[in-house]
C-alpha cells in the first residue's frame, strides 16, 4: 500500500508540473500578438523592396520578342509618341484605321501646323529695307499642334472609355481632322489659308469599310454639335503660354503661290518589336 501511495504522489506531482507547463504556454500565446508587432518591425528592415520581385516566367523557346507590322517613318518624337501611345499600346492594327491615322500623323510630321492662343495681340510690324521697300510682318503667340494632340487625345479617350473600340477609333479620326482644319501652316504667306476639312472627310469615307460608314456620320455629327473639341481646346490652351512667332508677308502678291496640302504616301510596313512607350509628363 505504501508503494502505491508513493507512486500516486509522484504521478500527481509530475502531472501538476506538466499541467503548469501547458498552461504557461497558452498564456504565452495570448501575449504573442503584442510581441508580434515588435518582432515584425525588425523583419521589415531586413527585407528591402528590391528583393521582393515577382518570379520571372520562362516559357519554352522565349528567345525573341514578339514583333508587329508597324510604320517607322516618323521623324519627330511627338508624332512617334502619339503613334505609340494610341495604337501600339492598345494594338489597334486593323487596316482601315491604321493607315488612315498614320497618314494624318505623317501630314502633321512633315508640315508645321499651329493654333493661335486666344487673347493674344496681333502686332503688325513694318520695316524698311536697304532699297527702302516696305516689308510687313505679323507676330502672334502660337502653340504647335503636335504638342497639344498627345494630351488632348488622352482626355478624349477618357470620355469614351466604356464604349467599344470601333467607336473610339472614329472619335480619334474626327478629332484630328477637325483640328487640322482649325490650324494653319507656317510656310504659307497669307493668314487666310485654311485646310479643307471636306476633302479630308471624303477621303476618310472612301477608306473605311462600307458597313462602318453609317456609324462615321453619326459620330462626326455628335462631335460637331456638342462642341466637345472646342471646350477641351480652351482648357488646354489656358495653361500654355505659347511661343512668339513671326509671319513675314510680301508686298507683291503675284509671287505667292498657294500650294495646297497633299496627303503623303506611306512607306511599307516593317516587322519590329514593341519599344517601351515614352509617356509625356506635361
Amino acid at each position: 500500500m505504501e508503494l502505491f501511495l508513493n507512486i500516486a504522489k509522484n504521478l500527481f506531482i509530475v502531472s501538476l508540473i506538466f499541467g503548469a507547463y501547458f498552461l504557461f504556454q497558452r498564456i504565452k500565446e495570448r501575449k504573442k500578438p503584442e510581441e508580434i508587432f515588435e518582432g515584425n518591425q525588425k523583419v521589415q528592415e531586413e527585407q528591402s523592396p528590391h528583393e521582393i520581385v515577382a518570379p520571372v516566367q520562362y516559357y519554352a523557346l522565349n528567345t525573341h520578342s514578339v514583333k508587329y507590322h508597324q510604320y517607322d517613318c516618323f521623324e519627330w518624337c511627338n508624332t512617334r509618341n502619339i503613334y505609340q501611345n494610341v495604337t501600339l499600346e492598345r494594338l489597334w492594327l486593323k487596316e482601315p484605321f491604321h493607315t488612315a491615322f498614320a497618314k494624318l500623323l505623317l501630314l502633321l510630321d512633315s508640315n508645321e501646323l499651329w493654333i493661335k492662343v486666344p487673347n493674344s495681340k496681333e502686332l503688325t510690324l513694318r520695316q524698311r529695307d536697304q532699297d527702302e521697300k516696305l516689308c510687313y510682318g505679323i507676330s502672334l503667340k502660337v502653340v504647335y499642334l503636335t504638342s497639344l494632340l498627345a494630351d488632348l487625345l488622352e482626355r478624349v479617350l477618357e470620355m469614351f472609355k466604356y464604349q467599344e473600340a470601333s467607336v473610339q477609333q472614329f472619335v480619334i479620326l474626327g478629332v484630328t481632322v477637325k483640328l487640322i482644319g482649325i490650324s494653319k501652316i507656317i510656310e504659307t504667306v497669307t493668314i487666310d489659308t485654311e485646310l479643307d476639312e471636306r476633302d479630308l472627310i471624303l477621303w476618310l469615307f472612301e477608306t473605311m469599310h462600307e458597313d462602318e460608314q453609317q456609324n462615321l456620320e453619326k459620330y462626326f455629327d455628335y462631335i460637331a454639335d456638342n462642341k466637345i473639341i472646342e471646350n477641351i481646346l480652351k482648357d488646354q490652351l489656358r495653361n500654355r503660354s505659347g511661343f512668339k512667332h513671326l509671319i513675314e508677308l510680301k508686298i507683291d502678291k503675284d509671287e505667292t503661290l498657294k500650294e495646297p496640302l497633299v496627303l503623303p504616301n506611306l512607306p511599307k510596313k516593317r516587322l519590329l518589336p514593341l519599344v517601351a512607350t515614352e509617356k509625356l509628363f506635361y
Binding site: 502686332l123 503688325t124 510690324l125 513694318r126 520695316q127 524698311r128 529695307d129 536697304q130 510682318g137 513671326l246
Partner: protein, 150 residues
Amino acid sequence: MLDERATKCVIGDIEIKRLQTVRNKKVTIIRGKEVDTNPNKSYLRTLMVMIGNELVASNYADSVLLYCELKLYDKGNEQNHFFAIEHKNKVCNLRLKQTFSKQNIYISKAEAEAFCNMFREAKSGVSMVRMLDEEFIPTLEELASLLDDE
C-alpha cells in the same frame, strides 16, 4: 535681307519704353534708351510710332515725317505719305492710309496738337547724339521679342 542690319551700330543694353499720347486712338511713342554709367548719361537710340496694334513708323525719319504731317493739318497735300485729307460737312479730318485694321482711324485737330507737344517732350532729359550717328534699326524678329508684353 531682312535679317541684316541697315546700319552698323554698337549695341549696349537698350530698353524700350512707351509713351501714350492720344489714348482714344491708341497712339504711342516708343523710345529706345541706353544708359552709360561712366559719365552717367542716357542716350536715345530709336524713336518709333505705333497706332493701335500696328507699327507705323520704325525709324526716326519716318516718325519726324508723321510729326510734320500732323503739324500741317489743313495745309497738307495729296502727297502725304501716312494720312489722307478728307472733308465732310465743312470739317477736315485726317485718315490713316495703310492699315490692316478693318475700321478707319481718324485724327482730329486737337489730338494732332497733343501729339506734337508730346513728341517734343519725349526728347527731354536725353541726348540725341547717338541716334543721329548710329541708329538702332532692329530686325523684325528682334522687334517681335522686344514688344512682347506678356
